[in-house]
Each structure stands twice: as structure tokens, then as C-alpha cells.
Amino acid sequence: QQVQEDLNKQLFDNLVSFLRRSHSEFQEKTTEWTCRMKSREIPTAALVLGVNVTDHDLTFRSLSEVLQNNITPYIALLEAKDCPGIKNLMQKLMGQLMNCYVDVDSLEDEDYVQVSQNRIRCSMTSLTNWYETVTKKTDSETPSKKRTSSSRDWQFPPVVVIFKDMESFTTKVLQDFIVISSQHIRELPLVLIFGIATSPMIIHSLLPHSVSSLLCIELFQSLSCKEHLSTIIDKLVLTAQFPFKLGEKVLQVLINIFLYHDLSVQNFIKGFQLCIVEHFYSQPLSVLCCQPVDAKKRVNSLSHDQCENIRKLPSFRRYVESQVSEKQIALLTADNFLKEVTQKLLEDLRVYHENYVSVLRCLHVFTSSLPKYPLGKQIRELHCACLENRVWETEEYESSLQLARMLNKSDLVTMLQQCVEIFVSSSGNEFDKTVEKLKEFLTQFQKLEAEAFQEQDVSISSQKELQKKTDLYHLQKTLLELKESRRSKKLTKFEMLRFEVVDYIDSLVRNYLVPADHKTLHEIVYFNTASVLRGHLNAAPRIALHTALNNPYCYLKNQALKSDGGRISNKAPDICIVYKLHLECGRLINLVDWLEAFSTVVMAVEGPNADAASSDQVDDIIHARFIRAVSELELLGFIKPSKRKTDHVARLTWGGC
């Protein structure tokens, strides 16, 4: 039940962010609405959504929900796969719109009957009748609508038609639809929304000028999926509230799948869900991975076995070893004491997370603006680096600190201010001092600024002095002096302060950004088996087949199968032998040759104990085994029967074409 709870919560989070996203778009749209009503052309909104096709569904659903609630009840969502022709498109469109109508006037039975009648007739009639019914529909509907929607702002709420995936529609269908509907725009206030995955140019390449001129297109850019990912990571991974955490490798795998495979936020969420499921399924101590209040209760009610489980955790062992001997004994024998300590440790872990997040953000503020981004542009990269090992030991961290020491003052000041904000907003109470310190830095900078003004004055005055003097020697001398003084001054004031700031940040990092696997009991909240995740989400069925066929020993742990030098032994399963043999062939394989080769191999194995009397029978068996293996290969798609030559099969795979 706990799992379920977590999943729900997380899904909700996701939905909220989605809604917010579409909301912003919607806001823009309403402003546009008013101006659109007057125009002759079909108002069209082109939504550039990016390549993460799988997420679009959710976006559109929330968008249509919002529209339905606020603007118009008439929304039709069209997908390319439902509309191979204009007829199907109209059919689908009518169907969806009528359902809407039914929803609105469901009380009016008469209307309902009429609608259903219409619907049946419509689906039968030809193309031309369709427009008439459409127009007639709206005509007949408008009075009833006036009644129901008199309170609304719009007397004629627009009919919104959403094309989910514009690229996959056939151009003909789209053109026809647009031309047709443009003729009826007077009677039917139609609004089109195109969902575009690639670029807005696609509209012009899909539609000829004559058609696109009928549209009044407004472009909306939705947030890119990457930004969306960062918001999700921000909300789910980089919070102290959510008790479950991802290990470094797991996060890396998820992000890699996202970036290199599908760019789909939904899949990322799915992966995250899977992580949670796996964690709660495989880790018996995951009961403790919950909100702190519950955790206390659960720790108290731990059974003896569970206590033993805690003792078995490697991180806990490390902890025990670092304690004094009496305490060690107590930890290893007394359950009650163990529970107390566990509670304390869990609390420590929680506090660590709180601090970790704010310090991580703070460090991100510093590193994200450095040239070349030695520690990554995104906070997730920084997070991964911190999780992986001690970040301050890495070269990248060194270089970024060096770069930070060369920041100019205004940047530094704004960064410090941001850090202060982060620390103030964070819930951890350890940061009071930090905030004070940072504020102190800020005031020092301000002071410096004031001093700098004075200094400037001084230098200006000295320059004035210089102008008075015409002696070349003196000029040289004063210039040198000025130079020296400047250098020393810089070192003393601003640069010193800058060093101090950077060092302070460094100390913060060293204090708080300890990688999680150095913490005791991290196993309870961190999920770290990336391989499982990878296997389930990003599986490689071909490679599995390949290894099974080439190296059966991986799966069947039999000594006889152990191969050397990449070749399989002749005792391998039949299908492996047949596969290996077929690899040596070109496009076509002669079945007779193949069979002969196979029986050579098999007979070499069975040769010694083959019975004289039953040699015929053995032959039959080998023949049958061969048939089975070949038909299995056919099932697996390695070969197919060929008509080009009698008793030949064609190879279908790698190197066979």
C-alpha cells in the first residue's frame, strides 16, 4: 500500500506540472481568441511540442480539459491513425463533437434522438452531405445552445479541432479539410490546433500556399522536454520531502534513456516508478523508507529479523566498526539499542538530505555560470557527480573552483545573494550561521565598492597630478608605483575577499556534499541496482539471442559447453550448432549441405557410442533434430524459405542480405 501511495503522489506531481505548462499556453490563447473572431480566415494555433511524441497525449488531454472548462464544450481530438481519408476524418470529428453535444444537452431527450439519427445518417452519406449536416447541425444547435450557455461570454462558442500529430496526416486530407471548412467558417466558428513535433516550417511544406493562406496561424512554443525533465528532477529527486532516492547509476541510466532514446518524460516517470517498485520489492528494509513520522513508529515495531537485516547492511557494519567496543556489542546484540540508534541515524540521514539539497543548489549557482561548465550546466549533472564520489576530489571541481576565483564582482555578489535566498528558504536550521556568513560577505563587498569609489577618486587625482608633470623620468616612476600599488591593493582587498568566499563555499561543499553511500543506512532509501532497471526498460533482445546462440554456456552452466577461443563446442544444443553453421553461408543456404554439416558435427559427438544396429534410426533422429533446429531458426527470423533454388533457404540476418 505504501508503494501505491508513493506512486499516486508522484503521478499527481507530474500532472500538476503538466497542467501548469498547458495553462501558460492557454493564457496566451485566450488573449488571442478575441482578435480571432473577427478574421475571415480559420484561426489556427500551431503548437510546437518537440519530438517526445509519447508525452503529447497527456499535454493534449490536459489542454482540452482546460479549454473545455473555460472556453468551449466543443472539442474534437483527431489523430492521424484514425483518419486515413477525409471521410473518416469527418466521421471521427462528427462523432466526437456529437458526443460533446450530448454531454451538454443530455437532458433534452429530443435533441439526443435527433443527434443519434443524424449520426447514423451522416456516417452513410457521401462527402457533400457532410458539410450540410455540419452546417445544419450548428444551425439547429445554436438556439438550444443559446439557452444553455446564455451565461457564457460567447454566444457561439468556437468548435476546436485539435490535430494531434499534424505531420502524420496525409496532406490531401488536411488540405481538403481546411478548404472545406474555410467555406463554412461563417456558419461554423472553427478553430484548429495543430500539434507539431518537428518545426513550424512543416505547415508550409505540408500545405501549399493557397491552402495555408486560408489559415491565420499563431505559433506557440511549448516548453522543451528537457526543461520539463529538470522540473521533474527538481521536484522528485532534489527534495528532502520525498523519502525515496535514486542512486547515481540509476539516475544516470534514466537520464541516458531519456536523452539518447526517447526524450519522453512519461518514460522517465515510468522508469522512476519502476525504481520504486523494485526498491520496495527487493529491499526488505524499505519499510523504513517513508515519512519521518511513520519511520519512527516503524522502527519501534521492527521485528528481530528486521533488526538482523539492519545489522547486515554494509554501511551499518562500517558504522559499527567505527564505534567503541562496548557500543559495538550493544549494537550487535540489543535490539532496543539498535532501534534507538537506527532512529537517530535515519534522522541524520534526513537532515543530511535537507542540507545536501540546499548546498547542491548553492554550488550549482556558482558552477552553472562558469565558462565551459566544468561541472555541468544542469543541476542533475552536478547531482550525479556529487552522488558518484567525493566531488571535491575530482579534477572538474578543481578547475571550476579556479574559475570561480576569477569571477568578477557583480556576478559574485548576485550569486551570493542567490545563495542566501536558497539557504533562507531551506528548512534546515543549521544554515543560520551560513546565512550570516554570506551576508557578511555581501556587506564586505559593499564596503569594498565604496572603497573602490574612493580609490578611483584617488587614482584620478593622481592622474591629474601626472598631467601636471612633464618629466619623462618621473612619469615612468609614478606609473610603476601606481602599478605596484594596484597589484598589492587588489590582492589585499577584493581578491582576498573573493578567495575567502570561494574557500567558504568549498568548505560547505566538503561538509555537506558527502556522497550518499558514505552515509550509514543509505541502503534504506537509495535504489542502486541500475542493471535491473536497464534490463527491464532498455532491453536488448537481439543481444540476448546472440549470446544464447553463440555462447550457450552463459545460460546453461555445463562444463561441457565451456568454450575456448570463441568457438562453441560441438556438444552445444542443436540450434546453436545449426546457427553457427549458417553463419558461414552467404545469401542462400543449401539445405542438404547444411544437413550434412550438421550430421558431421553431431555424429562426431555421438560417434563413439553410436549403435551399429540402430544407425538408421540414429540417422532419422539426427534428421529430425536438424529439422527442428532449422524451423526454430526460421521462427526466430534468421532464415526464410526461398524459391530461387530448390531446397534452399535465404539468410535474413547480418551479412546475409
Partner: protein, 576 residues
């Protein structure tokens, strides 16, 4: 390797391909791993590449390295779910290399020989094999002869080989003559054969001499550059091989056919019986594998309930596994088993069984999409409805179409329908695009079982299996019994004529005019009208087929294969 190599050196080329490949995928394997996961493994691989760089022309060392590498691969692969899938892409998707017609047989011979090389460990491991005293069967004699033969040849070869101390000799030399002797042995074992073999050996040798020479020439330069040079050579060679392989559209294979093998074709039933008799190899290991998979059942249930669907992949039939899952976990719940491998399964039948059996709905639907909508509506209305769908072979011929996959995906996306399916085809994942994948919401599980695909292949029209011959024969006799004596005679004539021409591959059939003549001569018909009437009857029973030739003449053909026809005629003779 130098370029001017004739066909004779084909055997040599084979040997070099794996080395290149090893080099290649060590290189890109290391690259990938360095990029992806900084595990310990990369270190070893890196070091390994360095080692490889230093390789001189010492073949033995290279072989050793190769072995090491394969061992390393094996270590990765041992744990197939471990991080970083053990096999790099280069190995799976290698280029096409020019194939020699006899290469398969060579490999077979090589494989067959392996136990001979490692006799000692083999026997110590499986003593029961040695325990069985090999009786002096003809087979054994044959094998012995072969050994002697090859030994003899080897000794002959040694004279030639002596000048070039080439390491590959052992791997390369033996198989070639071995094969020749083996394949031709049954026919005759005359002097000629022997000479041929010797010729073969000579060509092989000449092929082998060239690279040895070039290598001898190229020894002077320092080691590093040499290694590089070899590498470059190999690269360019790979390119050449690629084009060579793709240039010739003609495929060289031998012309032998199964007919000449004078082995009767097995039909499905006998095949099944024979295979039942044959013991399943590695039963214990397979059982262990299955037990591993079975331990996942409860996990599957949990994940199914959480909205994921499960797809199983890997070599071996997953039918039994799914059956076991069904009997152990789904006993008390509503479930539907779809045998995707069944040749007449359609999406419509799946949907029908859902609507009729599960939802108790009687009535028809205009299209599968309507039906789907109905199902979705029902399942959404009634949240207590739950359905487990097990699909064996989701990637079968009938279900792999885009539309059916779309429908199944939409079905599986329903929260109260739990889908667990298996796929076997290597290209199965290509069925799904992003949208479908997200609808399916798969969790992949590797379940390599190594168990034979008994059910799945039984419906396949394999070339080697006699296609439902018994059925055709019985129907033939039944239909003919109901006909008049004259009609039977007419059919006999046609059948006999067809059998006479069975060796003619371009036999178009018997032309109507000729047939009429023959029938008249046999006093079977008196006018072509009566013959036509008879033929119409045959055609209605699908006993014959008519075809118009290029010259407009009508040709008659019995669409039954020759062996069935022979059987039929024999039976008829008995009757008469």
C-alpha cells in the same frame, strides 16, 4: 594481408576475419565502455587494447589474446543482466564477408574435430562416455577411416608446410581435406578423389604462402609501426571484402537437393514422435534456468497490477513458462490465452473472445475498432472487471501487422487488462514505435529457456517437413471413389502423365488437346464435351487445376506433390 589472393586462399581469409573483428570490437567496445560506464572492466579492456597494439606478427600471441578477450567477454556475459550488456554491437552486427561454398562444411568438420583435440579433459569430465565401449560399427569404421585419411593427408602436407612454420596450420589444415573426404566418401573412394584432395591442399598451401612471405618481408620495420600497418591492412581488407561480398549478385551454392538424398520426408507426426524419443540435451540446466524464471512470478504479478505489461524475450520456447505462470498465479482470475503462433489467429478473434467469453456480449461489430471501443467502455465502466491476457508469440505472422499491434497496444493500455506476452523474432521490437511502446508500457524480462519450440514450429510450413500429405491422399481417394469408373480412369491418365514428367521442372501440365487424344485412345470419352464435363467435376473438387499457357493452350495439372501421387496410384492399383 596482401591483396592479390585468389579464390584458393579463401580458407585463409576466413581465419583472419575473426581476428579483425576482435580488434574492431575491442576498439569500439572499449570506446563505448569508456563513455558509458566507468567500471573496472574498462581498465582491463584498455590495457588490453594497448597489448594488442604491441602485437607483432606472432600469430600465437594473437590467438592467445583473442582467447583472453573472449574470456573477458564471457565474464561479462555470464551475468547477462549485469551492467553493460556483455556483447558489443560490432559482434552482433558484423559486415558481410565473402562466403565460400564449402565453408559451412569446413566449420562442421572443425567443430566435429574439437573433441579429438581435447580428448583428455573431455573424458575425465564425462566418464560415462568412455565407459561405453565403441563397437566396431560401420559408423565407427567410417570415422576411423576418416581419421586415417586426414592423418595421411596431414603428413603429406607437412612436407609442403615445412618451409613455412605457420601457426594456423593446426586450425586450418585439417578441416579442408577432412571435409572433402567426408562428403565424397559415401559415393566412391577412388584414387581420383585422393588426387583431388591433394590438389586442394596445394591450393590452400599456395594461398597460405603468400601472406607468410609478405609478413617475412615486413619484419624489418619496428614493432609499433608494423602493428599499425597490419591494422590498416586489415581495415582496407575489410572494406574490400565488403565490396567483394556485395558485388556479385550470384550466390554460389551447391546444386544438391533433398530429393537426391533419398531420404523420405518426414511428416509432422513422425517428426514429433522421433523427437520425443531423442533425449533433450542439458535437461538439468534448462530446468534450473526455468526455476530461476519461475521465482519471478510473484514479481510479475505485482508489476502487472501496477500498470506495467510484461514482455518476455530470449532464446527458447516461453510457452511452458507462461503456462506455468498461468496455472500457478492466474488460477482464480479471468484470463485469456492467445496462441499467437497459430496460423489463423487474428486480432478480431482475440477481440471476439474478449467480448463473447469475458463480457458475455452477443452481437457483432462493424469493425475491430468499434469492438475495441466497446471493450474499453465496458472496462472503464466496471472497475471490478479484470482480465489477464497471455499472448504467446506476440510477434507472429498474423499479429505483427501495424493495425493489429495498435489494437493490442490500446487494449493493453487499459488499467484493468494485464498483458503478458512473449516475443521470439529477432526483429520483433521493430514492430513498435514510440507511441505503441508507451501504450504497451512494457517491462522487459529476459527468459532464455533453451527449450525447443515444439508447438510454435508445428504450424510452420517448413521445407523439410512433408506438408499434410496424408490428408491430401485420403481426400483424393475419397473423392475418386464416388466417381464413375471412366472418371477414375481419366484421372489416372493425368496422374500417370504427370509422374512421368516429374523430373522436368518446367513441366507446364498436360494440354487439353493431348489429354483428349489420350482419353479417346483409352476409350474413356467419346467427345471433348464429355471430357470437359468430367474436368469440371474434378475442378469443383479441387482435384485439378487448369492454367493457360503462353500460347493460349489450356494445361491441366494435379496440385499434389509427386510422392502423394505415387502413393495414390499404388493404392489404386491395389484396389483394382
Amino acid at each position: 594481408m596482401s591483396q592479390p589472393e585468389g579464390k584458393g586462399s579463401g580458407a585463409l581469409q576466413v581465419k583472419f576475419v575473426p581476428d579483425e573483428e576482435v580488434l574492431k570490437h575491442i576498439a569500439d567496445g572499449a570506446g563505448i565502455k569508456v563513455r558509458k560506464d566507468k567500471t573496472q572492466l574498462t581498465v582491463s579492456v584498455k590495457r588490453f587494447v594497448k597489448k594488442l597494439e604491441n602485437i607483432s606478427d606472432d600469430e600465437a600471441q594473437e590467438i592467445l589474446e583473442e582467447k583472453n578477450y573472449v574470456a573477458a567477454l564471457g565474464i561479462c556475459a555470464q551475468d547477462p543482466v549485469g551492467n553493460g550488456s556483455g556483447v558489443s554491437g560490432g559482434e552482433v552486427y558484423s559486415f558481410q564477408t565473402p562466403k565460400h561454398s564449402s565453408k559451412m562444411a569446413e566449420l562442421a568438420a572443425e567443430l566435429a574435430q574439437t573433441p579429438g583435440q581435447s580428448v583428455a579433459p573431455d573424458h575425465s569430465e564425462c566418464p560415462e562416455k568412455t565407459a561405453k565401449t565403441p563397437q566396431s560399427s560401420s559408423k565407427y569404421m567410417f570415422l576411423l577411416l576418416m581419421h586415417v585419411f586426414s592423418l595421411q593427408l596431414q603428413s603429406k602436407k607437412k612436407e609442403y608446410v615445412a618451409t613455412t612454420p605457420y601457426r594456423l596450420r593446426k586450425r586450418l589444415a585439417a578441416p579442408d581435406p577432412y571435409l572433402e573426404s567426408e562428403s565424397e566418401y559415401s559415393a566412391s573412394c577412388s584414387e581420383e578423389e585422393d588426387e583431388e584432395d591433394q590438389k586442394e591442399v596445394r591450393t590452400v598451401l599456395s594461398g597460405r604462402k603468400t601472406p607468410a612471405k609478405t609478413k617475412a618481408l615486413s619484419t624489418p620495420p619496428p614493432r609499433n609501426t608494423l602493428a599499425k600497418k597490419i591494422k590498416e591492412d586489415k581495415m582496407s581488407n575489410l572494406v574490400e571484402e565488403y565490396f567483394e561480398a556485395h558485388s556479385s549478385s550470384k550466390v554460389l551454392t551447391s546444386d544438391r537437393t533433398l530429393q537426391k538424398l533419398r531420404k523420405r520426408r518426414l511428416n509432422q507426426q513422425t517428426l514429433h514422435d522421433i523427437l520425443k524419443k531423442a533425449p533433450l540435451a542439458y535437461a538439468a540446466e534448462i530446468k534450473e534456468l526455468n526455476q530461476q524464471h519461475e521465482s519471478l512470478f510473484s514479481k510479475w504479478m505485482l508489476q502487472l497490477h501496477l500498470g506495467f505489461n510484461i514482455v518476455l524475450y530470449g532464446l527458447g520456447s516461453k510457452r511452458d513458462l507462461l503456462e506455468k505462470f498461468r496455472t500457478s498465479a492466474l488460477q482464480d482470475s479471468v484470463h485469456l490465452v492467445v496462441n499467437g503462433y497459430f496460423p489463423s489467429i487474428t486480432v478480431r478473434s482475440i477481440l471476439n473472445s474478449i467480448t463473447e467469453e469475458v463480457l458475455d456480449h452477443i452481437g457483432t461489430f462493424r469493425s475491430p475498432l468499434d469492438q475495441l471501443e466497446f471493450i474499453i467502455k465496458r472496462f472503464k465502466e466496471d472497475s471490478s472487471l479484470e482480465l489477464y491476457v497471455l499472448i504467446h508469440n506476440l510477434d507472429s505472422q498474423m499479429l505483427r501487422g501495424e493495425r493489429s499491434q495498435q489494437i493490442l497496444a490500446q487494449l493493453s493500455s487499459l488499467p484493468s487488462i494485464y498483458l503478458i506476452a512473449s516475443i521470439d523474432h529477432i526483429n520483433a521490437p521493430l514492430m513498435w514505435d514510440q507511441a505503441k511502446l508507451s501504450l504497451y508500457n512494457w517491462l522487459w524480462y529476459e527468459t532464455t529457456t533453451f527449450s525447443p519450440y515444439v508447438e510454435e514450429t508445428s504450424y510452420e510450413n517448413s521445407l523439410l517437413v512433408q506438408q499434410s500429405g496424408s490428408l491430401a491422399l485420403s481426400s483424393l481417394t475419397h473423392v475418386l471413389r464416388s466417381l464413375t469408373l471412366n472418371a477414375r480412369g481419366i484421372f489416372r491418365l493425368l496422374a500417370q502423365y504427370q509422374l512421368e514428367n516429374k523430373d522436368n521442372p518446367s513441366y507446364p501440365g498436360l494440354s487439353f488437346q493431348d489429354f483428349y487424344q489420350q482419353c479417346r485412345e483409352a476409350f474413356l470419352v467419346n467427345s471433348d464435351l464429355t471430357l470437359r464435363a468430367q474436368l469440371t467435376e474434378f475442378r469443383d473438387h479441387k482435384l485439378i487445376r487448369t492454367k493457360r499457357g503462353a500460347d493460349g493452350v489450356e494445361y491441366l495439372l494435379i496440385p499434389v506433390d509427386d510422392s502423394t501421387l505415387t502413393d495414390f496410384l499404388e493404392k489404386e492399383d491395389e484396389d483394382i
